[in-house]
């Protein structure tokens, strides 16, 4: 457990939200209290799948201290969802998972609210529940959304029965190539569902003033929340202000519209502010945003020299009860079943199936860690079948500049192979180890996400400035780094700049803290706004100093003539009594071209913009007698283009790797036959603790990315979790002599695998 080697932040610069975070002064949403606020509680479905035959709220309404009760009958008759609009805010007629909300109450105290929620009377006609997401495709399976055909949906959605979205990735003729392959290897892998588990449970506070509402929410995506509230309550977006106090982590679990509208509806009915704070059980069961379970069946045809001539894959994913923002998961999984490899012919099918389980959504690099875990074990099986070292097989098959991706996207200069060589070097691959220890290697990839953004930079009369951005700080430091970028552009000190962020009333639309996009898109906008300010400062200073613009430079809070430091004017003087304000958005990069005509269910991930490329290697120790695995060390070599904030980037990798260790070994949501969670608590759903976390070493292959983020950058935050479980799995397989085919790879599963081969 040695210390991690990371570069320190620039001298003296501490993240500007740091002081409030270490003193306890900082306010998270649950820390807010408004005068007269009532406390909200939800009544959840009593069945995973049932028809509501009677819903009577009269006893709850009559309870002293109750100030509002809301059901779907009180709200506009609209459905919401991303690619498929399949859900109402409160259940109407049918409940489809255990965490579905039937009604909401608001009361003077939490105790009264809990009692009132219990007094709501609901009669149900139970319907057959489908929890097994493969069985959901069978012809006689109960249909979860009989009206699916009539729902509003994206034109690219291919839906059938319980399959909400069918997607394929197709290149060439995989069947013919497989038939002629020298060696064919097949492997089946199953990943259980898991959870994002931010340590802050979500909280929402809503307060109306006339027809306008302010909602404080622990969301990663305030603008998506605004859009969702506007749609579901039929209120103009201009009347809705979403403010995010400090956000206590998200990891994707706080993406999408999540309870802001229900709380706003309660506050409007109560005619007073209403506050909702989830307990840990609700944070597990009621959110529509967990990591999906996946069944993966891989088949790869390969030559004895290690050329991948064909790959066929069938993926079945558990969508859960509703679409939410996760309609694209099948297509994303299909790209990860190809992986960052050169493969001659490909046919991947992905079925994203409705079940009566909790809905799935984007959790850190959605679908990638599970599919990578399966694929990378499969690749080690392929290597074994042709008697080749698994690293050598990857060396021969990974993408590089000029290579073709799964849809014939041609890559610019990329560092995929360099990450492999660097990781292998860092871990000491091939060295002698005790017979209960081994090293495993896995590679992966993740796209950068292009989206619009916009920013303002204001300079005040005293030379200080403010950055106004729609970007959302989830803790990563991506927003906290923005003063460094602007200061460099304008010759200022980072501490001279404050940030106005996480407030939809202040800034332009932004995609939010998702898709590793904050520096990529919001950073681009902030730099464009700073460049606008720079132009204005140079114009004004050229007049003031009677100098040619080309001879001016911005240094130490002033504009001065190069070589004549006494001919200068401070930026505060240039701002004078007014404010200098710049704005910018920058150019959104286009999606790379590919031959995607043969693919169906396309949602924009059929090519990967500025792909982030990763190799990780894990050194593990396995107790064969008990199946207990200890991860001793993980090394991570990443190509995320140019790294603009080394300390922040390193922190993403170390955190992502530890999440990956949890996913690999202990984190799995266990369900009963009807889809009820059996371990919705931190006692039974085990995160990695400080004592269990491995030593982690990080390095970056820095190649300026074309048509990407600012200064040649790509995204950073999601890839760290992608190959960790795969690397651990490959190390375990080396010790026990066979693959562990279900994740999490619990002691019981590892022990059973070892026993199977007599290890």
């Amino acid at each position: 457990m040695a210390a991690i080697d990371t570069a320190p932040p620039p001298s003296g610069f501490l993240r500007s939200d740091g002081k409030e975070k270490v003193t306890g002064a900082g306010r998270y949403t649950a820390d807010l209290t408004l005068t007269g606020q009532a406390i909200a509680k939800f009544r959840y479905a009593d069945h995973p799948h049932a028809r509501i035959t009677r819903l009577d709220t009269s006893k709850a309404r009559a309870l002293p201290g109750v100030v509002a009760v809301v059901t779907q009958d009180d709200l506009p008759d609209v459905r919401f969802g991303g690619l498929v609009q399949d859900r109402t805010l409160f259940a109407r007629d049918v409940v489809r998972f255990e965490g579905e909300i039937v009604a909401g109450v608001a009361a003077l105290t939490e105790e009264i609210a809990v009692e009132a929620a219990g007094l709501i009377e609901v009669d149900y006609e139970p319907l057959p529940a489908v929890s097994d997401f493969s069985a959901a495709m069978e012809a006689d399976a109960p249909v979860i959304h009989p009206d699916l055909a009539s729902y509003e949906k994206d034109e690219n959605v291919v839906a059938d029965g319980n399959t909400m979205a069918y997607s394929t990735i197709v290149k060439g003729d995989a069947d013919a190539a497989m038939a002629e392959a020298e060696v064919v290897v097949r492997g089946r892998y199953v990943s259980d569902a898991s959870q994002g588990v931010p340590i802050e449970p979500r909280a929402v506070v809503a307060e109306w003033r006339g027809d306008e509402v302010t909602i404080w929410s622990s969301t990663q995506v305030p603008y998506a929340a605004r859009e969702g509230v506007a749609h579901t309550l039929q209120v103009p977006e201009a009347n809705i202000r979403i403010v995010v106090p400090l956000l206590g982590g998200g990891f994707g679990a706080k993406c999408d519209l999540h309870f802001e509208a229900q709380v706003a509806a309660l506050a409007r009915a109560a005619r007073r502010p209403v506050k909702l704070v989830f307990n840990r059980r609700e944070e597990f069961t009621a959110i529509a945003q967990r990591r999906e379970g996946i069944v993966m069946e891989f088949e790869t045809g390969v030559t004895r020299e290690g050329r991948l001539v064909s790959r066929r894959v069938k993926l079945v994913l558990d969508k859960g009860a509703y679409c939410g923002e996760g309609g694209f998961l099948g297509q994303m999984a299909a790209m990860h079943a190809c992986g960052p490899y050169v493969i001659d012919h490909i046919s991947v099918e992905a079925f994203l199936n409705y079940t009566n389980n909790q809905p799935s959504g984007s959790v850190r690099a959605p679908t990638a860690p599970q599919v990578c875990w399966g694929l990378e074990q499969h690749m080690d099986e392929v290597a074994r079948a042709i008697e080749m070292d698994p690293v050598e097989l990857r060396r021969r098959t990974l993408i590089e500049e000029g290579a073709e991706g799964p849809t014939r996207q041609v890559f610019d200069e990329i560092g995929m192979k360099q990450t492999l060589e660097r990781a292998v070097e860092m871990i000491g691959y091939g060295r002698q180890l005790p017979d209960d220890e081994a090293i495993g290697v896995a590679v992966g990839w993740w796209p950068s996400g292009a989206a619009p953004s916009g920013a303002y930079v204001h300079i005040n009369g005293d030379g200080s400035g403010t950055i106004v951005t729609g970007a959302q700080e989830n803790g990563s430091g991506a927003v906290m780094a923005m003063p460094m970028f602007v200061a460099e552009e304008l010759g200022m000190r980072p501490e001279d700049l404050t940030i106005l962020y996480q407030d939809t009333a202040a800034a332009n639309w932004d995609m939010g803290s998702c898709g590793s996009q904050t520096t990529f898109n919001s950073g681009r906008a902030v730099l464009a706004a700073a460049a606008d300010v720079r132009e204005q400062l140079l114009d004004a200073a050229a007049d003031e100093l009677e100098a040619d613009r080309e001879d001016l430079e911005l240094v130490d809070g002033a504009v001065r003539v190069k070589g004549s430091p006494d001919r200068s004017v401070t930026i505060g003087e240039l701002a004078g009594a007014g404010t200098i304000h710049g704005k910018g958005s920058g150019e959104v990069p286009d999606a790379p071209e590919g031959d995607t005509g043969g693919c169906v269910g396309r949602f924009g991930n059929e090519t990967f913009l500025a792909p982030q490329l990763i190799t990780q290697a894990a050194h593990v120790k396995v107790d064969r007698a008990t199946g207990v695995v200890r991860v001793l060390k993980v090394v991570a070599a990443h190509d995320s283009g140019m790294i603009l904030n080394r300390a922040g980037a390193d922190g993403q990798v170390t955190g992502g790797v530890v999440m990956g260790v949890g996913l690999a070994l202990s984190e799995g949501t266990q369900l009963d036959e009807e889809g009820r969670q059996r371990n919705p608590a931190l006692l039974d759903y085990k995160l990695v603790t400080c004592a269990d976390a491995p030593e982690i070493e990080v390095d970056w292959i820095q190649i300026p990315a074309k048509d990407a983020g600012p200064r040649g950058s790509k995204g950073v935050g999601e890839p760290p979790q992608v190959p960790t479980a795969g690397a651990i799995a490959n190390a375990i397989a080396r010790v026990v002599g066979t693959q562990v085919r279900q994740m999490p790879m619990t002691p019981e599963r590892v022990w059973a695998a070892a026993r199977e081969v007599g290890a």
Partner: protein
């Protein structure tokens, strides 16, 4: 039925009227108004609510407020004086031990207790002492470095 009690928190006495079943965490957050300690699980699993009780770390979510009467309670707000950060707080920032910050108050409290009982802990000592505090962001390395950087044996 509410009970009158006096809680001594961060060196100040606070008279409160509370239900006997109220947790120390809720009393300090809702009655006294110090919201630095967080509720992450209400189950003694995450450590975000950690406070010192006569110098010993406790999960305040699972401790009755009335049990703390007559004892010295310290929260994260009590770790620094006025506007000056304690060395441990500053080290958390300098060593990149803070991301979302939600676990930070509990981490700081647990680490403070450790350093008071063992001014020069080994890395393993630190990792074991903080094993009751979950962090989902950092991977723990920066936090461990921060604690060790202010330990008695740390150079510089």
């Amino acid at each position: 039925m509410k009970t009158s009690a006096t809680l001594r928190v961060n060196g100040h006495d606070f008279p409160v009227e509370i239900d006997p079943h109220l947790s120390l965490l809720k009393a300090v957050r809702d009655e006294i108004g110090l919201t630095g300690a967080k509720e992450g699980c209400d189950d003694s699993e995450c450590g975000a609510c950690m406070m010192l009780l006569d110098g010993k770390p406790v999960n305040s979510c699972s401790y009755l407020a009335l049990q703390a009467e007559g004892r010295e309670v310290t929260t994260v707000e009590g770790l620094s004086e006025a506007d000056r950060l304690a060395p441990l707080q500053r080290a958390f920032l300098e060593e990149n031990g803070v991301q979302c910050g939600f676990c930070t108050p509990g981490m700081l409290v647990s680490a403070t207790a450790l350093l008071r009982s063992d001014p020069d802990p080994s890395e393993d000592d630190v990792r074991i002492a903080l094993a009751g505090n979950l962090c989902r962001c950092t991977g723990y390395g920066g936090i461990v470095r921060a604690v060790r950087s202010v330990a008695a044996g740390a150079g510089g």
